[in-house]
Symmetry: C2
Subunit: 251 residues, 2 copies
């Protein structure tokens, strides 16, 4: 795949709870796969705390260098939810109430229960729009090429469902793998030669020690399905050459 | 905790397999907790692919703004393991063989089996040292304030064990929590008032929808143990005020 046709996204994960280790992130891998299905490559992730300047810096870096920038976290009703304000700061615009979001929240909570705290969830950077949330009343927010999604995995996934087909993606990246039951150091020279002979695909080597076995999963990636099988075959031959067992993978 | 006494670390996670979503990261939360035990705050994480320029940019940014910079991944024997070379580039130094590492690898594999590919794992940025690896022959690498660790979780954890007490840490951050079984939007105004009244602690609100229940875990953090209980008590009173059930957490 040529660089020219790559459509890229960056992700800014916002939350002290990830940086403190309290919460295991569950959104990065999910978003990465979802983007891949949409023909978009996740090219960089930054994890920052609930800190206005850190969010502004990360979002400005990734929205400029990537075609899209996603954020997760910090769009709820509490005092530590500062994503919308920070991203308005990144764009140097004010924050305004979005009428459609106010209406959605009013329908969800009922007009009596639409407190000031809940109204916070209808605030968007000036000129921004909404990302639908099928799970609760509070929508995500879009401003230009920046999508602000919820941090709760179930809600983030729902918002992504609503965004299917909305991004201008390129061709999806395809992959297939062979698992070789040998130390990757024994395969290294053969793999380097195969990669040199097939510069049009990328070959990743992911070693593992599991259930007492040492091995490596060798993943071949290309946007062109026809380019993958010859490389897999070369890897199998390289494994045979060092008398290592191998098994074809699922991805 | 004043900013002046914070000791910070950044982490650069290196690997196409994380950005493609194939592999769920298992190192960030572990490293965050380990750092916390050493009195160091993880202040930013960047995830980049197996790309020399991306690694150089991320490492240079984090080694300059943080007291320590850790990397995971890309220190194995295969063609896609480029961390040591990239970090030598970040420091603008050459890569050299480390004699101690060559000896360790020779003892591990046996002199006959110390192939060129395996010798790659003894390469360090000029002036760099080693991080011991209790699990296999290949050590991690240290160059100034940058620690290059393995990406395989079991090996990374072993390397961290060997680094215990090696960092100059500040006071560990302490935390305690109350889980309130109510939508966080109902607690938001009370929490904001409590945070305003207790600027010396940080209060995080982490909402959840699980097993049919809506709630939020409210985490109070401080380096001073005495400052936490009064804030927990204020949160319990705020929950009582909206007739919400609550339960004390473990962390």
């Amino acid at each position: 795949m040529s660089q020219a046709t790559r459509v890229t996204a960056g992700l800014v994960v916002i939350g002290d709870e990830i940086l403190s280790g309290r919460t295991q992130d569950a959104n990065i891998a999910y978003l990465a796969k979802w983007l891949n299905e949409e023909g978009v490559v996740l090219s960089e992730v930054r994890i920052v705390g609930d800190d206005r300047l850190a969010i502004i810096e990360a979002v400005n870096a990734l929205r400029e260098r990537c075609d899209y920038c996603f954020t997760t976290g910090g769009i709820g009703p509490t005092h530590d939810d500062i994503t919308v304000d920070a991203i308005a700061g990144a764009f140097e615009v004010d924050v305004t109430y979005n009428e459609e979001a106010l209406q959605m929240l009013g329908e969800y909570y009922g007009p009596q229960e639409l407190t000031d705290a809940r109204k916070r969830m209808a605030r968007v950077p000036d000129g921004g729009g909404l990302v639908k949330n099928p799970m609760s009343g509070a929508p995500g927010v879009r401003k230009d090429n920046v999508f602000m999604l919820a941090g709760i995995p179930g809600i983030m996934r729902g918002m992504l469902e609503g965004l299917r087909g909305e991004l201008a993606g390129a061709e999806p990246m395809l992959s297939a793998s062979v698992t070789v039951l040998a130390p990757e150091s024994e395969m290294a020279e053969g793999l380097a030669a195969i990669q040199d002979a097939h510069p049009e695909v990328s070959i990743g080597s992911y070693p593992f020690f599991r259930q007492g076995q040492i091995g490596a999963e060798l993943v071949v990636r290309s946007t062109n399905a026809e380019r993958i099988p010859p490389v897999l075959a070369a890897i199998r031959r390289a494994a045979d050459a060092i008398s290592a067992a191998w098994v074809d993978g699922e991805s």
